[in-house]
Symmetry: D2
Subunit: 326 residues, 4 copies
């Protein structure tokens, strides 16, 4: 590739009650970089970039865009050209149009997801060693996006062959088709995962924690503050990815994963790990089954050109809920 996508960078979520959202994410331990009446910019404790989560108050909950950071302005231009050559309509946002972010472009990716790329984001003071600011689950940094898409193989092929992502683990379903895949640019398990399902939808945004106790602390603090019902699934261990996980629903139902575990995937000779969809040995490594809401509910996404909700499609693979719980 002549361009270098570095990592998942930020998500922009529409929320219906900014104050309620601010309170929730503050309880979780996010740092508020800045905010005004209509939006709040949040980041994790180790993040030196301005934000990794931007919440905008709107009438309807939705995903505005998921964003990746590329190495340089030159990478950005080359990537835009490549995508246009592949038939995509690209929408540029010039420097100054978005707070704290440099030039960026958005488009609807092969799965219909609203995706943005940028090379520069304002840097701010890192709070990593201000332990007196740590609270809740002590959210450390953005880790990944997880999306429901109707055709996982199509997304898998494009991101690997055309965009240079690598696969760490995947789930094989009917007729050996890929039911779900974990893809990365940074050498962790993933920057983005695709799961077979009604889509395109955002299943969750994953944030990385420094250790398992931060996740337990997060549960206790959230419960103390009345957010017990927002805990949807976990804590538990995923077989796939080895993550110690917790899934939360924010006040608008957007799903956040708190995530610890992971491993280094830097090596070209790392062989993607295959899991069978229905192999009972591949279930959640330990702990309970996921609730139905975890399989059925997700955040709808917007068209980057029209700002309308993208129409949902049924998934190509029929089985929506595996015995194997991702």
């Amino acid at each position: 590739m002549s361009f270098d996508i570095i990592r998942s960078g930020r998500a922009i979520l529409h929320v219906t009650d900014l104050e309620a959202s601010k309170k929730f994410y503050d309880a979780l331990g996010f740092i508020e970089t800045e905010s005004d009446e209509k939006q709040v910019f949040l980041r994790g404790l180790e993040e030196h970039n301005h934000h990794s989560l931007l919440l905008k108050e709107k009438e309807t909950p939705a995903l505005e865009v998921i964003s990746y950071k590329v190495r340089s302005e030159n990478d950005l231009d080359k990537l835009a050209s490549k995508l246009q050559n592949d038939g995509n309509e690209v929408k540029w946002l010039e420097e100054g149009e978005q707070k704290a972010v440099g030039r960026a472009f958005r488009y609807q990716d092969i799965s219909g997801l609203p995706v943005e790329y940028y090379a520069q984001m304002e840097t701010v003071e890192r709070k990593l060693q201000q332990y007196d600011l740590y609270k809740g689950a002590k959210v450390q940094r953005i880790d990944h996006f997880n999306c429901n898409v109707p055709d996982v193989e199509q997304a898998y092929n494009y991101y690997i062959d055309e965009l240079g992502f690598a696969c760490s683990e995947y789930t094989a379903g009917e007729e050996d088709k890929i039911w779900a895949a974990w893809l990365h640019r940074k050498p962790s398990v993933h920057d983005v995962a695709y799961m077979n399902g009604v889509g395109p939808r955002l299943h969750h945004v994953g944030f990385w924690l420094k250790d398992p106790m931060s996740l337990i602390d997060g549960c206790d603090v959230l419960a103390s503050m009345g957010y017990g019902p927002n805990i949807e699934r976990g804590p538990g261990r995923h077989g796939l990815s080895n993550a110690f996980f917790l899934y939360l629903r924010d006040p608008d139902g957007h799903r956040i994963e708190l995530y610890n575990g992971d491993y280094l995937t830097s090596d070209p000779d790392f062989k993607p790990i295959r899991w069978e969809l229905d192999d009972p040995m591949r279930q959640t490594f330990w702990g309970h089954e996921a609730p139905d809401s975890w399989f059925n509910e997700a955040t709808e996404v917007l068209n980057v050109h029209s700002n309308e909700k993208v129409k949902l499609k049924e998934p190509k693979l029929k089985k929506r809920k595996p015995t194997f719980v991702i």
Copy 2:
């Protein structure tokens, strides 16, 4: 009282496959003090007494007895007299009749549970500082018994008024009746808990862990060894008792709780904490609902005189499964 019951001491469980049970409890991190073809004596890492869990191979799974340690032989005699005066038939086991345990007596308590008292147990080397022996969930010591009984108030009144137990927390049900109660002699949340239900049955034996991470480690090790399906509930936090808990089912279905949290209950001015059975705010502090098996299944108990299973009775309070999950 003229006698001093110190603490819950041991449980004797009948298991149907001693080898399978030994493997399971070894994985959990118990220390095997000794064993022969028909029984195995297990203890936790800090225990200086010979055992806190005795498994005997028999044809049918059952609880043979739950045992409390009293201060001295004199306390033992006084307690036996008191119970006989109250109309109970007491069965003495002289020194030498039971391995590692001194004189003891057994009787069927007010709830029909098989209960034993003893003053002396052989002491052995404590493994607390042999950290190279720590494994699994690093079980540290016995903590409590939890029993389903048909009439919780009757048990509550007898143990408090006649035997000198104190109540740390309780759940109030229909017409302000006590639906469940946590009673202690040692200054922890409990040595024994009674829950309204078909009984008398043993719901679980609880073992104390040194920290929350030992519980997480226990989940991972058990799952690695194929014991994932033995994890019935948790990890989670109980509102009542504040315990960080995990419930396991051993190969015969006996339920074991791994337990960390607790607090000191030494003070006479500690006021028992009341929880409403159906108050939605009193549910499991965070995490998932308990599975039905947790409410419906328990270990049947033996008559100390006949060695027959004790006949089960329906509970006095009708509601068996609260919204409030204990």
Copy 3:
């Protein structure tokens, strides 16, 4: 004994800058029950009694008194009589004389330490499940006092034979004399420890933490807030007591131990563990040697009658700093 001492209850320390002290103990994670210009009442997260640490602003740092809680007013009277019969001058403080504490009496104990007994302290709301208030090292409850005394054996004999304490562990020094001893009423390793040294002085007050990570978190938070130099020793593991420990010096140099580990000492057949003072195998279980300040510096104590500092005496055993580090 005809009286029942329940546990170590509180310490009263004189500090020279109340604001500086408030800030330090707040950073550590204490809950402030109440305060005025001249004093602050602090407690741990699980404590239902009004306070376990009372700081009074005075011109000179000192220990005013260490206090034990007894079971009832009757126990208090019997204990006072016993001590008077043994030749001690007892000073009564009637109800109302001290904030939040009932009738109490003070005297200079056999080592010259200012000791107080009381049966009642006002109860307040426990913060155990308000995890959103947890911070710093999340101090949970008072655990013990540790004192330097010139004659450990004298203190040991009186507390065990006359006051009903039990010994969990001890260090044997020259000619088999007891160099240090850990004594308890509640079934933990100790309510009070005596170490051979220039005294009577208060070496430290120990507070119990719920788990090892709270101690690590405490280090990070204290360091972030500029209290790094207040960390005197640790984190490390004591061989004796098995405690995972951290020693801090407050702004006046009073020493606080954060303490996690411990074990249950409820049983009359628990045999006190003997450690040799100079056995190299008995050193700090792992980690560094204690700094000299830990051996040489301690808090001077007041006479309960004159409010003057108690004159210091040289220890009976010559060796002040063992190879064995307690």
Copy 4:
């Protein structure tokens, strides 16, 4: 650069008693991939490559080589050419000459350190999810090398300008000269660090742990097995790198760091963090001063051509032991 160095890959250490070394590293929690009479191949729990630490029994303790993994055979050839063009004598080891490793070349780098590059290493089964094999400190993967070199700036410039490393953090000393620098290829704090000192010597090899409790567990297990004296420094928190660290000396005195903390350094706009050598605020974040041995002692290194020990040089910057403790 036309070549891509992926990460630090392995170290080869000479030890004088292979059995003693095997026992030590086994206690630490390394997985033994294979061994014979003269060598043992070790790896961490998540490593899918054959080994990250190779111990060879020899008469004298020494570092044979530190090795980096490159992306492909093509990268390997280009890198060798570049180094030869820069005047370095390169020694090739063809496939089959070294167990489990493909073609490789070695040379003496700009600091005189023996360095190896390879593209391929045999893959083996990852043990990440066999939690029943976890023990000791549960060593997860190799993280970095730390070396004493006489001229840090020279090494810094060559590795950054010529080999494509990036700097995460550095210490500025006399006249603004770089006293120490942390350089990385994988997006962590470092693959290699250089510290001003008598050299070239290997200061330590760092291994990554999954969480802080694994480090505490490691201390306890090592101490239980008699390895307490092998704990040289820690546990503590580095200000620089934010690592929660423990330094151990193996039976030959080779230094191993157990390391947890770190952060993601993927971004080109991450600004290297500057620390002043003597700023008292930059000392160890909390905890004790490092012992003198930590500053003075290190492993001598071999010449890759002659197998003789490389002659040591005095450092260019005079100050060897900063107030600031790295």
